[in-house]
């Protein structure tokens, strides 16, 4: 296999795509620096409101989490374009191997968990997983993670809920309403409640995990600052003002709370999406209905 030569145009497009990936993040950091008021201590706060749009119905605040999730969307979009740039069947590049591996893994995951009827769901599941993972990982550059805002994750959970209901409706409204009265009729209220608890629990699970991680990190960082002030505060000169204990320890916590927990929650969110959609869909009845329809068509 001969080594592939890149033309100048190919390299230029590559550089442009990489720049488009990094520029939104720099823009986000700039906005964050511009809008953060100077404060001495460490504080726990929700998403900041950057500005408010005056719409006729009611003022629409544009918050930090919203802007950051747009940044993630743009960055991931250009990352995908970069990875799929220069695909070829005979002479694949390094990134093509990465893309093919990821594609195979996603397809395998979806077909293992959802069955063959839902094979075309792989792009959707991969999109949700990527968006969630990168939204949580954006804390590594110091930005506010959109996933620790209930509104963002609630929106995703609502989308999943609509999909679940759509696939439950595939056999008609009567079948859908009847499914609430199973296995016994007097369980109907409980079934209705558990139907609405699905998106709520999904949203709370993801948001609570990320938020609790950031709250614990902030608390540990603040307490280490105070502790080092007590222990090393008596040192002469500027040595007394350096928080020695804050070096290193918060980074270890960050590896668990930001990287591991974020990726795990992304995986779990995608996994639960697949499980809920495929378990809500009455596959046997749908197949029976299709058979009946084709039989009627054959008769007439």
């Amino acid at each position: 296999m001969k080594k592939r030569k890149y033309s100048a145009k190919f390299k230029a497009v590559d550089a442009f795509l990489i720049a488009c990936m990094i520029l939104p993040i720099l823009f986000g950091i700039m906005l964050y620096v511009m809008f953060t008021p100077e404060s001495s201590g460490i504080e726990i706060s929700g998403a900041r409101i950057y500005f408010t749009l005056n719409t006729p119905v009611q003022p629409l605040p544009i918050t930090e989490s919203q802007v950051n999730s747009w940044i993630v969307i743009i960055s991931v979009f250009f990352l995908c374009l970069y990875l799929t740039h220069g695909l070829s069947a005979t002479n694949p590049t390094k990134r093509q191997h990465i893309v093919e591996w990821a594609l195979e893994q996603t397809k395998k995951l979806v077909s293992d968990n959802m069955g063959e009827f839902f094979d075309e769901f792989a792009p959707f599941v991969a999109a949700i997983m990527m968006l969630s993972a990168f939204s949580s990982l954006i804390t590594l550059v110091g930005l506010y993670p959109p996933t620790s805002d209930l509104n963002v994750v609630g929106g995703w959970a609502l989308l999943v809920f609509v999909l679940i209901t759509y696939y439950k409706f595939k056999c008609g409204a009567v079948h859908y309403l009847k499914s609430f009265a199973e296995p016994v009729a007097f369980l109907t209220p409980l079934n209705v409640i558990s139907e609405f608890a699905t998106p709520v629990s999904m949203a709370f699970r993801h948001y609570g995990n990320i938020l609790s991680g950031s709250v614990i990190s902030v608390l540990v960082a603040a307490s280490l600052q105070e502790l080092s002030k007590i222990i090393f505060g008596k040192l002469p000169g500027f040595l007394g003002s350096i928080p020695f204990l804050q070096i290193g320890l918060p980074a270890v916590l960050s590896i668990y709370f930001d990287v591991f927990s974020g990726l795990l929650q992304a995986f779990i969110f995608a996994m639960l999406t697949m499980l809920y959609i495929s378990s809500g869909f009455p596959e046997e009845d749908y197949k029976a209905k299709l058979l009946k329809k084709s039989a009627v068509k054959a008769n007439t």
Binding site: S201, F204, Y207, L211, S212, L264, Q265, F267, I268
Partner: protein, 96 residues
Amino acid sequence: MELAIGIILGCCALGAGMAMIAGIGPGIGEGNAVAKACEAIGRQPESRSAVTTTMLMGCAVAETTGLYALVIAILLIFLAPGRLVNILVETMNTLG
């Protein structure tokens, strides 16, 4: 007035602390799940990856109740005191 505000703040903090008692449940449940997963891997080491994924899923689902308690505790610490104090001040103003 100061006494009332103090009682509000103290009770909010107490309530948040009590809400987090719910953390016991998920802790025990997840411990059980991981113990069983370890046993299963010990018995059948070749099924390691499948067991691990299933265990992580189960842990995440078991964690939900703990996270509900966490959300309530966070609301009680960051949101409730300000709101309750506002209500108190308003009622005091209307009463004169």
